[in-house]
């Protein structure tokens, strides 16, 4: 049964997209945090809504829903992107890493997560999953070295609490440790 007039699903129907394939739904495969998932998505579902509303991965946050804040940042095939502006169907076959997928299977935190705690790099924490995913992406890109470059390359993540100084410190710290290895 097509539901062309229904508003976008919000909140209370976890996994609905997976268990009931509506005629409009498109089968896609995503590897999310290392786990391969066969999913059925509606064409207009963004990756952010898929993660939060269908897969109950609430770590990735919706701030603006328009690419203007960075709180929805995830890693797609290792590259940081705004999940609010990506239609899930267009990411068929991709690997997605969210904040939930950064720690090791035994629960050991990712060095960037450790550094954020160590440096007190958040207050309310709303922007933090996006900041951390973005920082992990930044490290992998390898274009930022100085604090100035880190600031510029982290400008896609807004923090309303203004934890910026400590965020830069945390990233610098991880960078220094990685460099020392």
């Amino acid at each position: 049964m097509a539901d062309l007039d229904l508003p976008l699903r919000q909140g209370f129907a976890p996994d609905a997209g997976i268990s009931q394939a509506l005629p409009d739904d498109i089968p896609i495969t995503l590897t999310i945090n290392g786990e391969r998932r066969e999913l059925h998505v509606r064409p207009w579902t963004t990756l952010l809504d898929l993660l939060r509303e269908d897969l109950s991965l609430y770590g990735t946050k919706k701030g603006c829903d328009h690419g203007q804040c960075g709180s929805c940042t995830v890693l797609i095939d290792g590259q940081r992107m705004n999940s609010c502006l990506a239609l899930a169907v267009t990411k068929d076959g991709c690997e997605v890493t969210t904040i939930e997928g950064l720690a090791a299977p035994d629960g050991t935190l990712h060095p960037m997560q450790e550094a954020f705690i160590e440096h007190d790099a958040f207050q309310c924490g709303y922007c933090t999953p996006g900041q951390i995913c973005s920082a992990v992406g930044l490290l992998k890109e390898g274009h930022a070295r100085t604090p100035e470059e880190i600031r510029e390359m982290m400008s896609g993540n807004i923090c309303r609490c203004g934890a910026y100084t400590n965020i830069v410190d945390a990233i610098e710290d991880v960078m220094a440790k990685e460099g020392a290895k």
């Binding site: 409009d24 207009w44 203007q68 502006l85 100035e148």
Partner: protein, 339 residues
């Protein structure tokens, strides 16, 4: 967002067929502009054609004539950091890195960047009139809030700007856009790609609705040393240009042999005035010559209140950019202090 069907073609021909057979179809590449506008009900396609699976459009190749061909699906990040682009077209690399943020550039494509739409507040607000969004309804920006609007090439129907940084560099570099449609392939020089609003502000470009962008071709490099992309905005990063200048010079000692100057944030398209560039030929680089060029480029500029400051700002930006280019000290996109 309105409901739509989706197609995921595996070839360019199939992609073109999808848009010719569906009247209200739209291509989607990175989605960073289209999805944003769909969420505001500004764009309401009933059929969306995903280009991400098309083969051959995601590479950067030599043209055989000394230039580079950047596939339409190459990301803004991949183009900006490509060694050949950095080495031969540093102006383009710099302009790309001045735009948006790393995570947006990772998703944004060359083709999508060319076709990104204006950031005019009224265009974005489906509850207000706007000739570009809904032809014939009027242009509230002219007498409204217009800090980000155009000072050159406006019409009574629309005073919007094209917001891209990349396109300003492409205009200065005289790139060519390669497109394909039901009638085959054609080439559109950057100067003719975007258009002025005139009495059809709903049309941003001269691309036909059933045409797909295949690539951007850059001619043989000429301005490897003396260039700059100077972008002035309300905050230092993650903001569109109020005024930007791409300047590229070929120098012989202190003398200018050849100049290319394009402005962003001031018009419905990257703004170039070839006669102004001519004025610099054989002239000694310096404030006097640069100021005369700025006068010529801004001839006929008109402010609408909120954006009137742009006329003086653009004048100064042109002089500063030409000085940076002549000195071979391009603007850093990290250290935003303007030298």
């Amino acid at each position: 967002m309105n409901r739509f069907s989706i197609a995921r073609p595996g070839s360019v021909a199939e992609a073109v067929r999808e848009v010719t057979t569906h009247p209200a179809a739209k291509f989607i590449a990175g989605g960073t502009n289209l999805v944003d506008l769909m969420k505001y009900d500004v764009e309401r396609p009933t059929h969306v054609v995903d280009l991400s699976r098309l083969p051959g459009l995601n590479t950067i190749e030599e043209t055989g004539e000394g230039g580079l061909r950047l596939g339409a699906l190459v990301s803004n990040t991949a183009a900006a950091y490509d060694e050949r682009v950095k080495e031969r077209y540093p102006l383009l690399s710099s302009a790309l890195l001045a735009g948006a943020t790393p995570q947006l550039r990772n998703a944004a494509t060359m083709g999508g960047n060319l076709l990104q739409r204006t950031r005019c507040y009224y265009f974005y607000d489906a509850a207000t009139p706007c000739n570009k969004r809904q032809p014939g309804t009027g242009c509230p920006a002219k007498d409204g809030v217009n800090r980000i609007h155009a000072i050159l090439g406006t019409s009574e129907h629309c005073i919007a700007t094209h917001p891209s940084d990349m396109c300003v560099a492409l205009a200065a570099l005289e790139a060519v856009v390669k497109v394909a449609g039901p009638q085959g392939e054609r080439s559109i020089p950057m100067a003719d790609f975007h258009r002025l609003p005139g009495n059809m502000p709903e049309k941003d470009t001269n691309l036909h609705g059933d045409e797909i962008i295949l690539a951007i071709e850059l001619p043989e490099p000429r301005f490897g040393k003396n260039h700059t992309y100077l972008k002035l905005r309300d905050r230092l990063s993650y903001a569109f240009a109020l005024v930007s200048v791409a300047a590229a010079l070929e120098m012989d000692g202190e003398k200018v042999v050849e100049a290319r100057i394009a402005l962003g944030g001031v018009a419905h398209k990257p703004w170039r005035v070839p006669e102004a560039e001519e004025m610099l030929r054989g002239k000694a680089a310096g404030r006097e010559a640069f100021s005369a060029v700025a006068d010529r480029i801004l001839q006929g500029a008109q402010g609408y209140g909120g954006n009137s400051f742009k006329i003086e700002l653009a004048h100064r930006a042109i002089i500063r950019a030409l000085s940076q280019a002549a000195a071979g000290t391009p603007q850093s996109q990290t250290d935003k202090r303007i030298q």
